[in-house]
């Protein structure tokens, strides 16, 4: 199988702290790839480097045959992403958020209109296209972000905990959209999650990361065999231990802990 993501000896240091410690892995074209690990394992830092938001300290990343450091714009055109935290403009409508994305990605106008309708219908938000995003529930926002991330026909779709905090119905819907995408359009899916059953059911291959390193990578049967366990959850705990991980709060989490600040300017 042809590789669409190739990572070699990737390192990211923050001062003396090594967040990602020389990882190497590949993802094949059209694969659904689960990227698991406890909090603070280095997953989000890795995704940020794969998506050009963070500069690697050393190592190489190739996305769709483009180098992430030297060919940023080609890399950026190649993927779509749904971030862990919502990244929509609340004061714009669903359609305006889509339009904003389409213009930024230079999708020609006639294709844009058609594609926006298609995608909003796909995530069942077409009848809400003129509502301001601030009136949307968490699940609706997530669906809109999925639609938006697909607008420019990406080859790879990154999903950082796409189902976090959603009810089982919404989670089910979201996974059926994602599966559909891979089956019909051959898009490569790269996702993280803390729900082991999602990875177990959806992923073709699974990587488990901890302390900045990849502990294991393979198909579900391979992982179960290597760890001599019966479920992904057991394999995960076997590899990463039972201790609770504390992660330093990011700036946005610190802010959300102070709700009175929210209304001040935003």
């Amino acid at each position: 199988m042809e590789n669409i993501i190739a990572v070699a000896d990737l390192v990211k240091k923050f001062q003396s702290f090594v967040a990602v410690n020389a990882i190497t892995f590949q993802v094949g074209k059209g694969e659904i790839f689960a990227f698991l690990g406890p909090n603070g394992a280095g997953k989000t830092t890795t995704i940020k480097m794969l998506t050009t938001l963070l500069q690697p300290t050393s190592g190489t990343i190739t996305i769709n045959n483009f180098d992430v450091v030297r060919e940023k714009d080609n890399v950026r055109k190649s993927f779509g992403i749904v971030f862990q935290d919502p990244s929509l403009e609340d004061e714009l409508t669903a359609e305006e958020n889509m339009e904003f994305h389409g213009v930024l990605y230079n999708v020609p106008k006639h294709i844009r209109k058609q594609r926006i309708k298609e995608l909003l219908t796909f995530v069942e938000l077409w009848d809400r296209k003129n509502s301001l995003v601030k009136t949307f529930s968490g699940g609706m926002k997530r669906r809109l972000e999925i639609a938006r991330g697909l607008l420019h026909h990406p080859k790879i779709f990154f999903l950082d905990e796409p189902t976090l905090g959603l009810d089982p119905q919404t989670r089910n819907h979201i996974w059926s959209y994602i599966k559909n995408l891979r089956d019909k359009e051959g898009i490569t899916i790269f996702f993280t999650t803390h729900y082991m059953e999602e990875a177990q059911e959806m992923a073709d291959r699974i990587a488990i990361m901890d302390h900045g390193k990849i502990m294991t990578i393979g198909t579900l049967p391979e992982l179960l065999q290597a760890t001599k366990t019966k479920s992904l959850e057991k394999a995960f705990l076997h590899l990463t231990g039972n201790e609770i991980r504390d992660e330093y709060a990011s700036a946005s989490e610190r802010l959300k802990a102070r709700p009175f600040m929210r209304g001040r300017m935003g």
Partner: protein, 247 residues
């Protein structure tokens, strides 16, 4: 070009949809015009300085622009924290264009704000000479761009909004109170003369006042020259700092 346009449009839509923000930001200029303009008017007149309202109105116009522009620039911190900035930063658009789109959007809002204060001042009794109006508008636009870019520069360096109060008290307020917006620059204590002459807003106020009421301290040419140079300096610094943002 399209990217700059859509970023500009987003700022404008946000502004026009938030009526509270529009009206709220007019409160302070109106208070200054009425309370100071009419309150200090008699003293000013007795000191032989003429009509205070005529003197003050251009200063308050500049104030309206200053506050709106800095706020619009600082908004980058909110974008950082509530995620929307990530959406723009992973798009195939250069950081320079993102910075320019945001700056022009914020500057347009600040310019509109300044114009509204201008109209309100006229309603309250301000009587400007409008022959140099295009020059007045140019001064307003330049300081709008300057202060929006300054706000973006500051926001690029800050992690979260806990530094917000710091910016208000140690940047925005001093910029305003140490400009010539509220008092004439002649016969000031020498320390104040020095400080006011390094405050960029001083040149903006002087330019607006000079083009509307023919009283200028530095001369319109100097005002314009200084502001254009400063504008390009801050735009360069701002786009450099903005390009260094990592999420």
């Amino acid at each position: 070009m399209n990217a700059i346009y859509i970023l500009w449009l987003r700022e404008l839509k946000r502004y026009f949809r938030s009526r509270a923000r529009m009206i709220g930001s007019l409160g302070q200029p109106v208070l200054f015009l009425l309370a100071l303009g009419f309150g200090l008017g008699p003293v000013f007149q007795r000191a032989g300085q003429g009509n205070y309202f005529q003197f003050l109105a251009p200063g308050v116009m500049a104030m309206g622009i200053l506050f709106t522009a800095i706020f619009a620039g600082i908004q980058v911190i909110w974008d950082k924290q509530f995620g929307f900035l990530k959406e723009t930063l992973v798009a195939p658009v250069s950081r320079l264009n993102i910075m320019l789109g945001k700056t022009l959007g914020g500057a347009t809002i600040a310019f509109i704000q300044g114009t509204v204060v201008f109209i309100l001042a006229i309603i309250f009794g301000f009587r400007p000479d409008l022959t140099l109006l295009p020059l007045t508008l140019l001064f307003m636009l330049i300081i709008a761009i300057f202060f929006t870019a300054l706000g973006i520069s500051v926001a690029s360096m800050l992690e979260d909004i806990s530094g917000f109060q710091l910016i208000m008290n140690f940047l925005v307020q001093p910029l305003f109170f140490l400009s010539g917006a509220l008092y004439p620059l002649t016969n000031l204590p020498s320390v104040l003369t020095t400080i006011t002459s390094i405050d960029p807003l001083t040149y903006g106020v002087d330019g607006i006042r000079g083009s509307l009421t023919h009283t200028t301290h530095f001369g319109l040419g100097t005002d314009l020259g200084v502001l254009i140079i400063l504008m390009f300096v801050v735009l360069s610094i701002g786009s450099y700092l903005f390009s260094k943002i990592e999420m």
